[in-house]
């Protein structure tokens, strides 16, 4: 599976992890020598292909990423690497730039500065479901799917998120949680190498949330994409992720490795300390639930 640099960041710059990418060599051959490693794309004007990427296996890698809106910095020098098959959760207060980072990884932000390498089969479940209202639910899922039977694949994916009955509905008739699940199905049906989930469980009730946690873990185990899950919920992050990051002041301010095997229980001892530390970084005193 070819992962390559989909989106030039900062103009023409486009580096890609060579080891992840069979086509990198050919573009490196075109390279005029601005680069030190084979890992730099021909069009790169910054020779910043990260060494780590060359060691292979990254679903996404970001180096020195900065983004400002109207002169107000939101991301400042973010480094982030997601191994392929790794489940990473990203915490951060509202407005800390989580969605912004995710957009960069999805190749939707061309104005960010820094190097970004991401699998070209990245899929996003956006913070709001963003189903096209003029297409029936199944057609939303099938949109852009090639293959012999896109509708069957779409309906099957809807079945996995418990929406088989709504395949023929119009998106505007779905409830908030249903729309969010449909959006999740749209991302999952493509079996991406990098799955970017922006608060995908935000509009779900506690029970459906648990079901969806199981579903995401199940699908993650089956296809082993790299996952970046943006969430506000510290417990959710601790239950699901291999690694929990906190975004604060425009950079990754904290990192927790969670070695505990799944399924995890939220009261597990190993999680207690991690939770306290995360809450402390987030500026919450660990008395409440969040």
């Amino acid at each position: 599976m070819a992962a390559r640099f989909r989106h030039p960041v900062n103009g023409a710059a486009a580096a890609r992890p060579a080891a992840v990418d069979g086509t990198a060599d050919q573009s490196a051959a075109l390279d005029g020598g601005a680069s030190r490693a084979t890992a730099v794309d021909a069009t790169a004007d910054r020779p910043a292909a990260p060494e780590a990427a060359a060691s292979g296996g990254a679903a996404a890698e970001v180096r020195g990423l900065s983004r400002a809106f109207d002169g107000r910095p939101v991301l400042a020098d973010v480094d982030l690497r997601i191994e392929s098959g790794e489940f990473v959760a990203l915490l951060g207060r509202s407005g800390s730039g989580k969605s912004t980072l995710l957009r960069v990884l999805a190749g939707l932000d061309r104005e960010a500065e820094g190097t970004v390498a991401a699998s070209d089969s990245a899929m996003v479940a956006f913070q709001e479901p963003r189903l096209l209202p003029w297409k029936r639910v199944w057609a939303n899922i099938a949109l852009g799917l090639d293959g012999t039977a896109p509708k069957e694949a779409a309906v099957a994916a809807l079945g996995e998120v418990g929406l088989a009955d709504h395949a023929d509905a119009w998106p505007l008739t779905l409830s908030g949680g249903e729309a969010q699940r449909a959006s999740l199905a749209r991302a999952l049906v493509r079996e991406p190498e990098l799955l970017l989930l922006d608060e995908p469980f935000g509009a779900l009730d506690a029970l459906t949330r648990i079901t969806m946690h199981d579903l995401v873990l199940h699908l993650w185990r089956r296809h082993l994409p790299g996952v970046l899950l943006v969430t506000h919920d510290v417990d959710e992050a601790l239950l699901l992720a291999d690694r929990v990051l906190v975004l604060a002041d425009g950079r990754i301010a904290h990192e927790e490795h969670i070695g505990l095997p799944r399924p995890r229980h939220r009261d597990a001892d190993a999680l207690l300390h991690a939770r306290d530390r995360l809450l402390a970084v987030l500026g919450v005193h660990p008395t409440g639930d969040r």
Binding site: G107, M123, F126, R130, K135, L143, G144, W170, L172, T173
Partner: protein, 284 residues
């Protein structure tokens, strides 16, 4: 157009019976029919009044013939085939002009809506053209195209292009950029983006443009046919005027408005079918 009772959401009549009565479903259907009838009372009264006035000699036949006279004339012209011929000629002008204008209007709107250069280069002249009174162009068109079919079709085409362009372009600009992000993530091709996102997203605007442009298409036709024509509805009306055949003039006007009504109904139908996804929401 007045909002017809049939387009009202089903619950509207139920709220209308106000007076605190619980809205019972079975009561809805008869009330709807009554309301439709209510709306026909005054037109029918006018028609009866007109007929009476003419029959009693209050309305001079030369200025406004009786409805019965107009109906008889219509029957006669239908039987000798001249009305059908005239309508055929006019319809052909309008359809040709409309096809050309619609293609141009939508294509220009897509170009403008999808590329910055298209927007920079194409939009300004079209916006300027919009302010030119198009009937003022008739002398120019006659000089350019002569007095055959071409200037008439061209005038209709222009009358269609402008409103369709303006509304479709606005519709395309109004498509939520978030949907373009979705298209990007799903890796739709450029054509796929147009087909699945841009055009359906701009459909509400396009349909408004379609309705306006059909209205102005008929208007342009009528004006163009008044100037010079040797066939068609306008010619029929003009020659009738020379022979003081007020009944034929009135008949021509009625036919024009019927044609306008039919095309309008057609667009309504199209709207209902194309925008089901919105209706599904409204009636949920």
């Amino acid at each position: 157009m007045h909002p017809p009772a049939t387009a009202a959401p089903p619950r509207a009549p139920a709220t209308e019976n106000g007076s605190g009565a619980p809205p019972r479903r079975p009561a809805v259907a008869p009330r709807r029919r009554n309301r439709l009838l209510d709306r026909w009372v005054s037109p029918i009264a006018l028609l009866v009044g007109w007929q009476l006035g003419a029959s009693l000699g209050i309305l001079p036949e030369r200025l406004l013939p009786a409805p019965s006279t107009v109906a008889a004339t219509a029957l006669g012209l239908l039987q000798d085939g001249s009305l059908v011929d005239a309508v055929g000629v006019s319809l052909q002008r309008v359809l040709t002009g409309f096809a050309i204008g619609a293609t141009a209007g939508i294509a220009l709107a897509v170009v403008v809506g999808l590329s910055r250069w298209g927007d920079n280069l194409v939009d300004p002249p079209l916006q300027m053209l919009r302010t030119v009174p198009i009937f003022g162009l008739i002398p120019l068109f006659i000089l350019w195209f002569g007095i055959g079919e071409t200037p008439k079709v061209a005038l209709v085409a222009l009358a269609v292009t402008i409103p369709l362009y303006v509304n479709t372009a606005a519709g395309i600009r109004g498509v939520d950029p978030k949907f373009r992000d979705v298209a990007h993530v799903l890796r739709l091709s450029r054509l796929g983006v147009i087909r699945h996102v841009v055009l359906p997203g701009s459909l509400p605007g396009l349909l408004v443009g379609l309705r306006l442009s059909l209205g102005s298409a008929w208007l342009a036709l009528i004006v163009a046919e008044q100037i010079n024509a040797d066939a068609g509805l306008g010619f029929m009306i003009n020659s009738a005027r020379e022979f003081l055949r007020t009944d034929i003039v009135v008949l021509g006007l009625i036919v024009y408005s019927l044609l306008g009504l039919i095309t309008d109904a057609f667009v309504r139908l199209l709207e209902r079918r194309a925008l089901v996804w919105r209706r599904a929401f409204g009636t949920r």
